[in-house]
Structures are given as C-alpha cells and as structure tokens.
Subunit: 353 residues, 2 copies
C-alpha cells in the first residue's frame, strides 16, 4: 500500500482503503453503519432523501462511535419541464401505455432527484460528516463554502481528465475517478457525449498523473483483486457499489436482486431512458426496444415520471422490463451476505499478495 | 507475481509478463525484434501483410536467437460487397467528395484486411511461431487444426464472458481479454452490439473466474502500474499496443503521431466508419459529423475503399479528418523512445512495489 493510501486512510480513520458507493434509492444508514463497522467508509446518498430523512439517517450513523461518514449529493441544475419534449416522450411510450392499459394523463410526478440546496447544507452543518461528496460537478460557490466551513473533505466525481482538472481548479480535496464500468448515474458534467467516458484502467492513471489530488477509483471493482488493482493504478482507495446490492442492508427490490444474481447482469448498458441522464443498468426490454441512449427522453430527472405506471404494472406482473436495474459491469462480487463480509473479502488482498 | 504468470512466462521464455499488441498496418519485424530483445513477446500482424511479406518479416524475427514470436490473424468471413449499401455510403460521403473535388467513380479498392487462409497457414507451418493469435473468433476447424499441428499455442480475443467461454469450448490455449479501452479493432465476434463491451477492470476478473484459461489483459494498460494492476486482476500478462505507437520501430504516420502526442488523444471513440467494424481511434471530423457508429458504413472491410481519396486529400492538406487514428483510451504511455525502453518501463513494477 502506498504512503498516499495510508495517509488517506489515517485521516479518515479507515482500516481498509474502501469507500462504499452512495446509492440513492437503495440504502440509508443500515449499509453505512455495517460498512463503517468493518473499517471502510460508509456513505449516505442524499438525492432521494428529504432533508428530514437525511438528518435521521445521518444521526443514526453518527450514533455509532468512531465511524466516519460520507454524505453524497447530486448537484444538477433542476431543469424546467419541457412540455413539448415530455409529450414526445409520452408519444414514444404510447404503445406501452396501450399494452398495460395506462392513461398517461393521470400520471403524477415521479420521485424527484433533489440537488444540493440550502436545506441539505443545513443538514451538513448540523451533522458534520467527515466527507461531503458530489455527483454532476459542484454546487454553487455559496453552498460549497458552507460545506467547507464545516471542515468536511469535499470530493466530487470525474469521468474524464478534463473534469478532474476542473475539480482540482475548483478546490476539491479528492476526486472519485468513475470509470465507465460503474453502475448508476455517470457523474459527467462537462460533456454529455458518452464517447468521452473512459474505462477505469485508463481513467485512474491519467487522473493520478494529471492532478495532485488523491484519487478514489470507481467502476468494475468487485473483489479483492480489483481493489488491489486500483491501488496499483495509483488510487488511494476503491469505491465499490454493485458488490453491496445483494446485501440485507440494501433495499434492492426482489426483481432487481433476481436480475443481479443471474446471467442477465452480464449485459449492462449506459441508458438515459429512466431519468434523462446516462446511467448504467442491466439491459432490459425498454432499452432494447427504444435503444438505451435516446434523444427522446426528457431532461433529467423528469424522464422518470412517464415511466412510473409502466414500471409499476410490469413489476406487478413479475417483469423488470421498465425498471432501472442499476448495476455496474461486474456483478460477480454481489453476494447475499452481510455488507461487513463484502468489505472483508474486498480487503483481503489490498495489504499483500 | 502469481505462479500462473510465472508459468506462462517460462513456457514462452519471457522475462517480463508483457505481450506487444499486433498492430496491422503499423509494424512488422522491427518492433517485434525490439520488444523480444527486451524480454517481452513480440508480435506480427498478418491482416495487412501478403503471405510473402509475412514470411519475410517472420524470418527476420526468427533470425534473432531465443525470441518467441506471436503471429496474429484476423479471421472474419470476407463479405461480398453489398452494392446498394456501398452506394448509400458513397452518397453520405458525397459532400466530402465535392469539398475535395474527388470523383467517387474512380476509386480503386482499398487495402484489404485479409482473413487467415491456406496461404497464411502455410507460412505458420513454415515459420512455426510459438503463438498464433486470432481476432474475430477462430478460423475454420481445418485451418485451426493445421495451426495446432505446428505445436503453436493458439490464442484468441474475448471481449465478453460469453466469448471467453466460446473460445474455451473451442480449445484455445489462452484468451486475450480485450477491455473496451483498447485501441484498434474490437475482437468481438458473437455480437455486434457495442453495449456488450466491458472495461478491462470488469472484463478480466470475470473471464479469470469463468474459464480455466490463462488470461492476457488488454485495454488501457500503458504503464507499469497498469501492468501490475492487470496481474492483480488475475491476468498472467498484459498486452500493450498504444504505448508503442510513437516508437521509432513503428510506422505510425506523422499526423497520427502528432495526434497521439496531443490532448486530442484524450478523446477516442469506437467507430465503424473506417472499416465497417468497431475500432477505437482518436475522435476526428468524420466521426463528429457522421457519428462514430453509423448504420451507413459498408460491411467490413470494404468501408475503407470509399474513404481512401478523402483521406489522401485531407492528409495532403495536413489534416487527419478522414484518417483512422487508432488509439486506446490511455495514450499517456506512448513516448518517442525505442520500444525496448517502453518494455522496460512497463515492467518496472510488475515484480514488486
């Protein structure tokens, strides 16, 4: 293990160089507590929690002595709904509405991904997590300054060398280099061209060489060999998400668990169909029939709304054809065991081999 | 270094766990000899060499004592030219023909990528390379049996777990797990859907876990940390291509070298525009204007023909707008030094760190 990795762990009080990926909609304090208890960095994902829920979950983690906490936020600019685009999207979905007998005029707004805002900053000021991490760039300077005054480390996600350089110039303390193997939303923010996205093996060493920041490697890391490989690429730690998706501490749906544990998980794709932003999930019917990346989907995050009744109807019938089955390109690490066991198996090779 | 990696090296007489990627159109014996002299496995690429050229180049490598040789072949089924598709492709290119004053009716056929055939098998029987590696699957059983009777190790490329399982079932001795970071042609052969393609960090451990074959990792590996990381993922060796593209032993064009050494190399994409099959190269004008993956391009390898005069005219004017600038996602390892120096720097960390 490098000196930089050791220093990174010491500063956060970690015993293993592993960060649990924040997974909005899938986990709260139970996972962060379990992971923290095993010596890794537990995380909460703010994007789908109300401020009060976030406060409660952060307090629950805080009640455990000596466990550092990472709270993650999306920091997109909420886009106004584009009615014409929304109508075109619903027109594209009309054959599915017909198939499931859904009247699209009756659809209520879906769960909104919330950006980091005043209320979230107030929770950070109250709970003072050791790390506040961002996805989709950084919040406004005023909000960022409020975080900085709490003495939290500020991290954000880079998917290209350009994004890493931008984040360094904007004063982050570490960068999460998110290789395109990663499940869930791409953190990309300087471009929406997915051909710019790099595999972990290519991204991490280039970010390490291009910036002076500590680099946390993410994407495709699902076992001890992957963690050790990430350190060899110059990362100070590895961020792991998909490997936790079958754990009891995670609220992955039964259909999602079934897909993760099957050969279906071998084929994922980046898709903007479910939220309007590219995110990696298991290839399913909607992706196959509309193409995983489509010009039709509304801007983030409102794409989710029009799909809600289709998802509900299909899930009721036992199919995940319209569900976002977030998953990275390496689901082999996901096992039906407590999260602490996942952390322990991830860490077995990072010291030596 | 693992026992498996050591056994792999011993069997081939290598002193470092590094394979030089065969690069059709860019290299012949000079690179293979330089790489072999530094203890790695040198390779020749048969796809753009006539049998006589291949024989001469293989003999030149064979004249060096004690250096093992890998000869690589494409094994696509040559497709008949689809006239309607070819005409549609030329229609799409018409604005460029107009811009450069080219009459597309006068275009001669471009350089053909040759599949492994009787003549190539005869060269293998004569020169008896230690390794015969394939791209795009495997040749016919009869041709494969001729290779096997020379006692050569038979390798082929897998870009998915399914392809690795197929190759194992068809009796290969090792598999090259080609992550999507890799430059040049994707070896994919069971699918033409590029969403199936995995990053090296995800592909290698899954192939290692799914087969009993030795796995050579390829894609994004450009420095000693990358080689060490590949070994940690369970690979017995790393295959490296892009890092050699600025070496004096390689025939990379001046415009290509310029692009490789610039920030342009940070953005590559998979494109089928240049040959009809997905291959990774530096993003350029043709890719930007037609989209890097297009339904318009003719089937492999005939797409190359219609572009020849545009490429020539643009290159004459100092632009690589219509040239295939093959390059992986990590060009940082490419330096203007002899290939032996690249091998030595790649190998510095693989023993220890």
């Amino acid at each position: 293990m490098s000196q930089a990795s050791r220093a990174f762990m010491d500063r956060l009080g970690l015993s293993v160089p592993i960060v649990q990926a924040p997974m909005a909609g899938f986990q709260a304090s139970a996972l962060a507590i379990a992971v923290g208890g095993a010596g890794a960095l537990g995380s909460l994902a703010g994007a789908l929690l109300t401020p009060q829920m976030l406060r409660d979950e952060a307090k629950a983690v805080r009640a455990q002595a000596g466990r550092p906490l990472n709270v993650n936020f999306f920091c997109h600019q909420p886009a106004a709904v584009d009615e014409a685009r929304e109508q075109a999207w619903r027109a594209a979905l009309q054959p599915y509405y017909d198939e499931f007998g859904v009247d699209p005029r009756g659809i209520a707004a879906g769960p909104a991904r919330l950006p980091f805002d005043d209320a979230a900053a107030a929770v950070v000021e109250e709970l003072r997590p050791e790390v506040v991490s961002f996805h989709f760039g950084l919040p406004s300077p005023g909000l960022l300054e409020r975080v900085r005054r709490t003495a939290a480390q500020i991290w954000s996600t880079a998917t290209t060398v350009d994004e890493a350089l931008w984040l360094e110039a904007h004063g982050v303390d570490a960068v999460i280099a998110q290789g395109l193997e990663a499940g869930g939303h791409r953190g990309m923010f300087l471009t929406d061209d997915i051909t710019t996205q790099l595999g972990t093996m290519a991204l991490v060493p280039q970010v390490v060489a291009s910036t002076r920041l500590p680099v946390i490697a993410a994407g495709g890391i699902a076992d001890a060999g992957g963690v050790a490989a990430a350190l060899r690429l110059g990362a100070v730690a590895a961020q792991v998400g998909t490997a936790f998706l079958l754990c009891p501490e995670v609220t992955t749906s039964a259909l999602h668990r079934e897909a993760l544990a099957s050969e279906a998980a071998r084929h994922t794709a980046l898709t903007n169909l479910f939220t309007g932003r590219p995110a990696r999930g298991i290839f399913n019917r909607l992706m196959r029939e509309l193409g995983p990346m489509s010009d039709l989907s509304p801007v983030f995050p409102s794409a989710v709304t029009a799909l809600m009744p289709l998802r509900a109807a299909a899930e009721k019938a036992g199919h995940a054809d319209f569900s976002p089955l977030w998953c990275g390109q390496n689901a082999r690490g996901a096992r039906r065991v407590p999260a602490a066991d996942i952390v322990r198996s991830l860490a077995t090779m990072s010291e030596s081999r």
